[in-house]
Symmetry: C2
Subunit: 658 residues, 2 copies
């Protein structure tokens, strides 16, 4: 990649390339025949700027609407946290015996309740800020990338990638800063009561993840409904808004959540292990150091990073159209949409195998070195690349939108081809980013799960006790329930959008012939309403399950639910993301027609291409809504259980007490 | 159902029904306007008989080919069982101290090795006989149902249902008889050493299930490849053969396997609990009594039966086109194949929720009453309906084939409509049968898992130890790996079939116009070769995983794998079966056009209908190959682990011993 900037220069070569050019590698050759295109047309710049501000306004307005609704939920939940945790010792203000170091006195449960509530709100707020800033950066980058694409694909790539990098580093720094300040402020009260301090800090992870869940689900539904509208009436502002609120703001909040949770998990596990009792503040902050420096200090970090890379490579292999799996899927389009879907689903299932082995090995190795602390640190290792991860993740939607803007600004076909090339690479980088996110989610959840078990004072989680086993099987069912909800939501929202588009074609005279402008505002409103309304049930399922299970069935069953949803959710998340990515790239493979094989399947509009489009549409909710939200589901349920652990241990398990 | 025979009479009513007929219920009305159709045409009878014998020959020849290959595998595996179990005490012939009752002397491990091997072969043989007899009965019933359809749908229904019932009762009786004889013969050697006796008898379940696995996978691939061929060139013998070897012989072996395993599990658990040490032979045979009588003697049985019925009802609700879920899926075909697939997948995911709760509740209740023994008995309770289950299960393919024969024999359109009506009901009964099979598989596996843990002398299976957790996450991945293999196999076999059909159209002159006969033999050969070749890798995955994990990683990790594959496999199996069933019936709903809503989507060949056909094709491998084989996967791995438990406990866990 480092070579690209030098290649993507403004060298202008006439139509007939000189002999030396053909002797170069195909890559160099491609870049050499690029031309500057409409570089002096000021009208295009103005038009792009207009479109950009429309997208930015749309995205801002949607996010504000979303945050209003989620804000109410957050405040209600904050009150719940305060009441539940405060009730553990009947709102007493007396100091208590510490759980793990019986010789010491710890701060009262009421303090934990107050500080947990504060850090919950802080986490939610930081998550909102992360998502919002990400969206702002991305909308600026969209139009800029389009304009750079006039100078060549190399220039456009650099712009898109650097914008992603700015966003990644900003978000990582932001999350770290807030966490560091919060810990230091809380320390003023807690003193050397590490256990209490880091228990309270866990609320930060919960707040971050809760916001991320709503962001992912709401944004995911919005973007897919808009996408369907765009497929029917051509690129519309709503589609671009959707990409920015779903893929950028949602993902920013998500990765921030992962990062906050794994830091919290490492800190809590450290505080209740021997580290917390003997070591000083600097040693305790080791987890923060790792993530701020991204340096290999320690084997567990290496293991996590190694597993992350394996997952990344496997994901690339299964979703890039440069390798045989996607080409096979494309080839199966020859016999129709049905074989395309069967092969795509099988590809997704198959792509789970190696990542799961990588996760299993990293769990085993890191646990062997430093028990649960090792797992938390391995998760941080995977996330130490968070900035880069965000950068490559953000790159995809930025390129996609650049293409949309080029189309809306009426720029030439050649520019659209360049942004399409960037976008195909973007599908793979997005899938890799999702792979990292899922892998780290698995490790983070396990570490949080370990911390929960310690904090709830459970000694073993024995699968053979019926309490645990029923939890395990119901937990393994939750990702299916959640996916059913989100997929159905996307389907219903898309259906409404299709009906609206049909209505507009029937009632607005001249729309079919392109004389009249479509009514964009109604389309945006349908997307907004659908996503706000439909994000509530899946969100509530995730947020309420740990509470209901903990209160009525107790901590053993809850442990089962966490383990079950973790081991089942990871598989669905990986397979859904990869199936969706593969279908998208199989379609692009046919459209691009870059190889002889691809040309036998194309061109656009051929029967195999139609079959590929069907696969792509099915893949959208899988890869952009269900898949990525599942990884929040498993983390969120674990961190929520951890926050409420003292309450469940004291007052939970009502049904089994009868 | 008891009313149907009286309604489906030969009453002949002229075209204009008299006033009283319209005042009756629609059901009665439908039957009253039926007519006898071509009942005196002897040529049709001869033609049907010819087709029937061709199907019977084809099915017999395929099963013999399949059994030859599987036979080799079985013999190799029998040798493995003998060597592994014999090596536990170094092939010593001395009596040993019993594991659970330390005061007694038990028979040597070598005896267990010999008797386990014998009962393994016996189980495999009984399974083969069950599948083969089922196939024979079904092929006889096919043509007979077609001929009865000339007299009315009621007559045809009775024939199809009674044939299913004959098959069901025969198979249940067969399995029971062999088991009873085997126990009594083994008892001559073992005397009052119940522990050893029932450990050896476990091999019976393993043998039954191994055969069932190959039968389901091989038959499933065969039937689907043939199905695709039939869709292209019209009904062919291969398609009918496929239904008989896959849906009938495979399912017969499968339910026999479940039944044998749950009996064995209950017997083993009983032998190692207090029952076995204090009670007499009659009490020990209680499990056999339950299943032979199908009577409620005991609460756990009620619980199991109740859960089975809940699962049955939920399955019917989600897969019958009389209810809104399937109608919604059909409605989504309006906007194309993509929404149909999204809605269908979401339906399958959603249909998992209630069955899982039912299974969880039945586990909890039956465990609370009698620990693992309660669970085994609950599984038997669910399977006490095995005869009825088989009857309703077999009814579907019999009706389907009756339709095929009617078409090939050139019978009138009206007869085809009658068999189609039977077939639509058959899709739902098949889905209910699968629901029962999956629910009972979950309980059986859990009971076997419990028996394995006891026999391997593990005290707890703690999820929080890395050995168990990595087992859990890898175990949860196995159903995905397995599904990827089977789905890809079906896809590849179908692709080969499509190419062959295209080749025949291009090379056989007059085929396109219907003057020449297609080359059926090559089509049959392609199905046979593909299924024999493709059934080996998934079969090996299931059979070898417990061995590899046990030998290299030990019993704790194997426990994790069993728990993981159980909780994850159940979900995929239920959702795959129901999604497939729903798509199939959504297509039939549109084709039948029985309601005003359905008529807006049809007729055959309309865009919504085309979308529905795509969904149906995708559903085939899900509902007929992956789904049903997954439930064998979870049982088989559990019973295999149980058989090899003493070996793993003694010599296993090589890697962790380093």
């Amino acid at each position: 990649m480092a070579l690209l900037p030098d290649l993507g220069t403004e060298i202008v070569i006439p139509g007939n390339a000189p002999p030396f050019a053909t002797s170069c590698s195909p890559l160099v050759h491609d870049y050499l025949i690029e031309e500057e295109d409409g570089i002096n047309d000021h009208g295009v710049v103005v038009k792009c700027a207009e479109i950009q501000s429309a997208i930015s306004e749309g995205a801002t307005s949607f996010l504000f609407t979303e945050y209003q609704y989620v804000g109410i939920f957050m405040i209600a939940f904050a009150i719940l946290i305060f009441l539940f945790l405060g009730s553990v010792e009947g709102f007493s203000t007396k100091s208590q015996q510490c759980t793990f170091n019986k010789e010491k006195l710890c701060k009262p449960a009421l303090a934990t309740a107050i500080f947990s509530t504060v850090s919950f709100l802080l986490g939610a707020f930081t998550s909102v800020v992360s998502g919002f800033l990400g969206m702002k950066i991305a909308t600026y980058a969209n139009a800029r990338t389009t304009l750079e694409a006039r100078k060549g694909v190399g220039k456009a790539f650099i712009t898109a990638f650097r914008s992603g990098a700015v966003m990644g580093f900003l978000l990582a720094a932001n999350g770290l800063l807030v966490l560091y300040i919060a810990i230091n402020l809380f320390k003023l009260y807690y003193g050397d009561d590490w256990e209490g301090l880091f228990e309270a800090i866990t609320g930060y992870g919960l707040g971050g993840s809760s916001m991320a869940l709503f962001g992912r689900v709401g944004g995911g539904i919005y973007t897919k409904a808009a996408d369907v509208g765009a497929d029917l009436v051509g690129k519309v502002i709503a589609d671009n808004v959707g990409d920015n609120v779903g893929d950028i703001a949602g993902m920013g909040s998500d990765l921030f959540g992962s990062y906050a949770e794994s830091s919290c998990a490492a800190l809590v596990v450290a505080s209740i292990s021997s580290f917390g009792m003997t070591h000083d503040f600097t040693a305790m902050c080791y987890p923060l150091l790792i993530s701020s420096m991204g340096i290999l200090l320690f084997l567990c970090v290496c293991v996590g990073l190694w597993a992350g890379l394996i997952i990344g490579f496997v994901t690339e292999y299964y979703t890039s159209n440069a390798y045989s799996p996607v080409q096979d899927v494309a080839d199966s389009c020859r016999t129709g949409a049905a074989t395309n879907v069967i092969f795509g689903l099988a590809l997704g299932y198959k792509s789970v195998i190696i990542p799961i082995f990588a996760i299993a090995i990293s769990i085993f190795v890191s646990f062997s070195f430093a028990a649960m602390y090792g797992i938390a640190v391995a998760a941080l290792g995977m996330l130490s690349t968070i900035a880069t991860g965000l950068a490559i993740d953000a790159y995809g939607p930025i390129s996609d939108n650049a293409g949309g803007i080029a189309e809306m600004a009426g720029m030439s076909h050649r520019i659209r081809e360049r942004t399409d090339a960037l976008d195909a690479a973007g599908n793979t980088t997005a899938a890799i980013g999702k792979g990292f996110a899922i892998g780290s989610a698995a490790l983070v959840s396990l570490a949080l799960f370990g911390a929960f078990v310690s904090r709830a004072s459970i000694s073993t989680v024995d699968v053979l006790t019926p309490k645990v086993f029923i939890g395990l099987i119901v937990g393994a069912m939750l990702p299916y329930w959640f996916s059913a909800m989100t997929m159905k939501s996307v389907g219903s929202a898309a259906l409404k959008m299709v009906e609206e588009v049909r209505r507009q074609f029937n009632t607005i005279p001249g729309l079919m012939e392109g004389h009249a402008k479509p009514d964009y505002a109604t389309c945006v409103k349908i997307s907004t309403d659908a996503s706000i309304k439909e994000m509530i049930p899946p969100g509530a399922l995730v947020m309420l399950t740990p509470l209901i299970v903990g209160i009525f069935f107790g901590v053993e069953t809850l442990s089962g639910v966490l383990a079950g949803s973790l081991v089942s959710g990871v598989q669905i998340a990986i397979s859904a993301s990869n199936t969706g990515g593969a279908w998208d790239n199989a379609k692009k493979y046919i459209e691009a027609g870059a190889s002889e094989h691809a040309r036998t399947l194309g061109p656009k509009g051929s029967e195999p291409h139609k079959a590929a489009v069907i696969g792509d549409t099915i893949g959208d909710p899988l890869k952009d809504t269900s898949g990525p939200s599942l990884n929040i589901l498993i983390k969120l349920m674990a961190v929520e259980s951890l926050v409420f652990a003292p309450f469940f241990a004291t007052h939970g398990g009502l049904l089994f007490k009868l």
